[in-house]
Amino acid sequence: MLRVENLAVSYGRSQVLFDVSLAVEKGEFVTVIGANGAGKTTLMKAIMGLLRPFQGRIVFRGEDITARPPWYRAELGIGYVPEGRRVFPDLTVEENLRIGAWRRAASFKRSCERIFTIFPRLAERRHQLSKTLSGGEQQMLAIARALVLEPELLLVDEVSMGLMPLLVNRSFKVLRELNREGVTVLLVEQNARLALRAAHRGYVLETGRIVLSGPAAELSANEMVKKAYLGG
């Protein structure tokens, strides 16, 4: 479904991604794990079109989208849950969802009701400004906002960041359920233990390069991964 080929991205003079290649098949849950500063967010932004790579290609469902703007990628069905949630603070919950469903406005009512059955807390807070939500609720809103697009592929940047452990577990559970229902997921994550438990396959990103890849269970058993990311 998604193919990233030899991607290289730099901010000014400092290069962040070097020759990154990865693939996500339909129905898969794939994770990219890596430490802070490894280039995970940069990779997500490049796939979404928020950063322009200076080398490489991004192919989505057979179409080369490397030069396409982010809104075109959303139209094609790439949903995005940004790092740090980035909900629109001065918009209500429903308005946030409306923005998320911009490219699917005709079916907004239906998709919105569906979302509210998955996240009943959001239904209760429908008309509240999203800056008044708790961190966990904002994370749910960020996921919901991507889901109302009815995406083929969901890009998730750090679902665990800044959340207490209970909420982290719940967020992962939500992602797994969504994947079971057919949403393809690409998750970049610092919390390698939980990410590898949830995903089918994984990649390890180190200082901008993919150094290892394979089935999640295999990665979890790998000595290097254990040492560097799973705490020995």
Partner: protein
């Protein structure tokens, strides 16, 4: 006399508000100061003046001035600001100052440096209300009605329409809005379309009110525009209108009653300094989190 000054102040404030709103909308999204927004003020007035000279139709000349200037705003966004977006904001600021100066000289080249008489008044008669000692000038009524209509239009557009929702999202987080599927270039283009159109409307009405136009008529409004948008809390449309009214009223009331040791036009900046000492973020601006 007091009532007369108050109404006068509101009329002046309306002109400031219309001139500054475009720059506020642009700042709200792009975080750049678009000085050339004030160039639309004189440009609109001149287009209306030329069309009126040729046709004698005031409504047509007003519409032509507003619409053509708004389209120029689109061109400015597309060909001047869009290519500069990836540069630091200072580059855009300098470019907009350059465009402002160029526009003035272009007007001077096309129409000559002299003051041109713009006799389009007398559409609405002046009425003296004896009971409350108030002269209602026809041109004032036009300014107030047009301003009220444009502000109501902007309010409804921003708060009760789909494109307004997109505008508010873009102002809060440009990047995420793009990722959600919104073509933010269109939202930005809308800013320039509205902003230049509004400033043109202000310039045209001032031209009609004072019965003349001249190439540098946008100078003082440009300075005032800066004071108004900073005072209102950068990027906040409601704050801009509030600040414009405060400066307009202060100018007429203090100028008319107490007198002031500096030129009247300096008052806006004295008020700006005083209010910023009290509220550094402007009237309705949000305090920056440290």
């Amino acid at each position: 006399m007091f009532l007369q000054q108050v109404v006068n102040g509101i009329v002046v404030g309306s002109v400031y508000a219309l001139t500054a709103l475009g720059a506020t909308l642009v700042y709200g999204i792009l975080r750049i100061l678009d000085i050339s927004n004030a160039a639309a003020y004189a440009t609109g007035a001149y287009i209306a003046f030329f069309v009126y000279s040729a046709t004698g139709n005031l409504l047509l000349s007003f519409a032509a001035g507003v619409v053509l200037t708004a389209l120029l705003g689109l061109a400015v966004q597309r060909y001047l600001f869009a290519p500069l977006m990836e540069k630091p904001p200072l580059v855009s600021l300098i470019a907009s100052i350059g465009l402002f100066i160029c526009t003035q000289d272009l007007l001077r080249l096309v129409a000559g440096p002299q003051i041109q008489n713009f006799h389009a008044g007398g559409v609405l008669p002046n009425i003296y209300l004896e009971r409350i000692n108030l002269t209602v000038y026809g041109s004032w009524v036009i300014v107030l009605l047009v301003t009220a209509a444009l502000l109501a239009f902007l309010y409804l557009l921003l708060n009760h329409s789909a494109i307004g929702l997109a505008w508010r999202a873009t102002a809060q987080d440009l990047e995420t809005t793009q990722a959600m599927g919104i073509n933010t270039n269109r939202v930005i283009a809308l800013n320039f379309l509205l902003g230049y159109g509004f400033a043109a409307a202000a310039g045209i009405m001032v031209g009609i009110m004072y019965k003349y136009v001249f190439p540098t008529m946008g100078d003082v409004p440009a300075y005032k525009m800066l004071a108004v948008i900073v005072l209102g809390g950068l990027g906040n449309p409601l704050g801009t209108v509030l600040a414009a009214m405060i400066i307009g009223l202060a100018e007429t009331l203090i100028g008319g009653y107490i007198g002031f040791f500096l030129p009247r036009d300096a008052l806006a900046f004295v008020i700006l300094i005083l209010i910023l000492l009290w509220r550094p973020q402007g009237l309705l601006g949000r305090r920056q989190a440290n």
